[in-house]
């Protein structure tokens, strides 16, 4: 199968759209994950007592739901990326591959 050279593919508007969208979305989500996680780690490092503040009258502390939320956010962010990649990026990739034939 003869395929177009990378220079030709680079000029394809669909390719440029794919790279632009995927890069900005991927790096933004990475930044979001980093902010959430290092927010948590900085709390652990600099203000562990904040995570120890009681939640209500019992022994439950703020730290428990915060930790769980970080875990859940990792799953949700991954899901958001996969959903968008399946809906948008794969369509673009298929188009680029077709054009390159």
């Amino acid at each position: 199968m003869a395929t177009a050279s990378y220079e030709t593919i680079e000029k394809n508007p669909s390719y440029q759209e794919l790279v632009r969208k995927r890069s900005s979305f991927g790096w933004s989500l990475s930044a979001a994950m980093l902010v959430i996680y290092f927010g948590f780690i900085l709390l652990v490092g600099y203000a562990p007592k904040v995570l120890g503040i009681p939640l209500g009258t019992g022994v439950m502390t703020v730290g428990i739901p915060v930790g769980l939320l970080v875990i859940i956010s990792a799953f949700v962010l991954t899901g958001v990326y996969v959903a968008r990649a399946n809906a948008e990026y794969d369509v673009l990739v298929r188009k680029i591959v077709e054009d390159a034939k």
Binding site: T3, Y6, E7, I9, E10, Y15, L18, V19, R22, F25, G26, W27, L29, S30, M33, L34, I36, Y37, F38, F40, I41, L42, V44, G45, Y46, P48, K49, L51, G52, G58, V59, M60, T61, G63, I64, G67, L68, V70, I71, I72, A74, F75, L77, T78, G79, Y81, V82, A85, N86, D90, V93, I96, V97, A100
Partner: protein, 562 residues
């Protein structure tokens, strides 16, 4: 057919060895050993071994080519691969180690869980699809894509082998302790059984067997851990508050177990550990290798999503299990050393918290099930690790560096099988040397090295046009060596393992990632920028073609026919 007959002989020999060790165990009991023989556990463990040996036999028959051996021919589906990745990740170190950490210090265990999980989204967003589009068998295929092969392959192989060695130690220690407790075997003998079985799985079944062992074990472990967490919650009327207040009441640290505590001694230490856990995930060779077992980028993406879900769920379970152990294990003299009381008196050490809890909530048969699953977990994970290590030796060092890409495929497979045996023996020796280390902590060290060598080189090679061979090699080795030195001079190794007096460690942090990652990235940047060689121009000129392929998959290695 030759492979199959060798396999039969090997399996038969192994079963003989295994039954004689079991006879030894029985003898030890007769001789008045303190361990009781758990028939349910042995039965279930033997059933697992037989099933997985059957799978290995089946896999051995279809493992002919190098692609089959290293990556199951790219024929694993996204969902299956997700389960296998989760299986790789839900190691004995995370199951026994994290529940043990929660048992000892409460909230601190959750910090490890969170850190181990958050690397996954980053892998999905930035490297999973690119890896699948660029690579063939090992992550070095990607890292060396446009560079001079020999130096980058040597670097990647060093990074792989050091990471694999640390990770293997953690798994072997877990295995030894577990079997010691369960079968009354000597520690060294237990480690030997694991090493032997692992060598059989990998040499005969390659990636196909390793993947299926991983999938079966992931399902068993998820089912067992779910049941355990359910039973714990049921004892407290499904009210977490009741569970936590009982734990606070009986734990010697009292309310301090509900907040970050002594595990993290200072802020820099916390950040350094956080970096290692997060980016180490993206640099673990046995995990990266899993992305080559699926057919395309879409399946690679899906597999990380599936894995993230299962792993996140599993970590929430281990947290509940750890608290369950505080309330149900530390208060029950049956699970403590005779004549002692309190948390630290737990039989077999804190890593056994989950195992005793299984007995507490589900009786002897469930204890047998969880012990067998934990053992299966160790077997599966060490197999994946060893396969990654052996691939680095055979594919990166032998086929690409020594034979300069002209190796005969059958020779390459033979070298990787020999390497597997060698690594298996090494793992047994290291497992014995490091008997008394906390297993979760050892995995943390493996992550530091993965984050400081493998990850920087990989991510810069994918995204930074300016990287050159020289920059990658100098930066990568800076990261590797500084992480290694930092680890050796840290309190965990310098004081606890080598035996120097407390407070004498030259490097004050348990995890060097903050410094070693900075050195690696800084080194790659500086030495690439200063590099004006002819090779550097070639490296930079290769970037656009590599980038197009990483984005579109055009030219990527597809799934082999089955």
């Amino acid at each position: 057919m030759k492979t199959a007959s060798i396999f039969r002989a090997g399996a038969a020999g192994l079963l003989v060895a295994l039954s004689s060790t079991l006879a030894h165990a029985a003898g030890a009991i007769d001789g008045g050993s303190k361990q009781e023989l758990n028939i349910a556990a042995i039965g279930m463990f033997l059933a697992f071994v037989l099933l997985t040996l059957g799978i290995t036999y089946w896999a051995a028959k279809q493992t002919r080519s190098a692609a089959q051996f290293y990556t199951a021919g790219g024929g694993i589906t996204g969902f299956q691969n997700g389960l296998a990745i989760a299986g790789d990740y839900m190691s004995a170190a995370s199951f026994l180690g994290i529940s043990g950490l929660v048992y000892l210090s409460g909230y601190d265990g959750l910090i490890y869980s969170v850190g181990w999980l958050v690397g996954w989204p980053i892998v999905t967003f930035l490297i999973a699809e690119q890896l699948r589009n660029l690579g063939k068998f090992t992550f070095a295929d990607v890292a060396s894509f446009r560079f001079a092969q020999t130096p980058i392959r040597v670097l990647a192989a060093c990074g792989t082998l050091v990471t694999v060695a640390f990770y293997l130690i953690a798994q072997m220690v877990g295995a030894g302790k577990l079997i010691q407790l369960l079968f009354g075997l000597d520690y060294w003998m237990a480690v030997l059984v694991v090493g032997g079985l692992m060598i059989v799985y990998v040499t005969f079944g390659g990636m196909v067997a390793t993947t299926w062992v991983q999938i079966i074990k992931a399902c068993l472990l998820l089912a067992g851990a779910s049941f355990m967490a359910m039973m714990v919650l049921a004892k407290f009327g499904f009210n977490p508050e009741a569970l936590f207040s009982k734990a606070v009441e009986v734990h010697p640290k009292k309310i301090a177990i509900m907040e970050p505590g002594s595990l993290i001694s200072n802020p820099l230490s916390a950040i350094s550990l956080g970096l290692a856990l997060m980016f180490g995930t993206a640099g673990l060779p046995h995990i990266l290798m899993r992305f080559f077992t699926v057919s395309d980028a879409k399946a690679a993406r899906k597999s990380v999503f599936v894995a993230t879900g299962f792993i996140g769920y599993f970590y929430i379970l281990t947290f509940i299990i750890g608290f369950g152990a505080i309330t149900l294990v530390s208060t029950n003299p049956e699970f403590l050393e005779a004549g002692k009381t309190g948390l630290a008196a737990i039989k077999g050490g804190s890593n056994m918290a989950a195992i005793h809890l299984a007995n507490a909530v589900g009786g002897n048969v469930f204890l047998g099930f969880i012990s067998a699953v934990a053992f299966a977990t160790i077997l599966a994970v060490v197999s994946g690790l060893t396969l990654a290590g052996a691939s680095a030796i055979s594919h990166d060092l032998y086929a690409t560096v020594i034979k300069e890409g002209a190796a005969n495929e059958q020779d390459e497979i033979r070298i990787s099988k020999i390497s597997t045996v060698f690594l298996g023996i090494l793992a047994v020796i290291l497992g014995i040397v490091f008997e008394n280390q906390n297993v979760a902590f050892m995995v943390g060290l493996a992550f530091a090295i993965a984050a400081s060598c493998n990850f920087p080189v990989l991510v810069m090679s994918i995204f930074w046009k300016g990287m050159t061979t020289r920059g990658a090699v100098i930066g990568g080795f800076l990261g590797l060596i500084s992480a290694l030195v930092g680890v050796v001079l840290s309190p965990g190794v310098w004081e606890a393992a080598i035996g120097n007096p407390k407070g004498s460690a030259p490097f004050p942090y348990d995890n060097p990632a903050l410094f070693s990652m900075a050195l690696a990235f800084g080194g790659i940047w500086l030495f690439s920028t200063l590099d004006n060689s002819k090779r550097a121009a070639q490296d930079r000129a290769g970037f656009p073609a590599q980038f197009v392929r990483s984005q579109t998959g055009i030219g990527a290695v597809g799934a082999a026919s089955h």
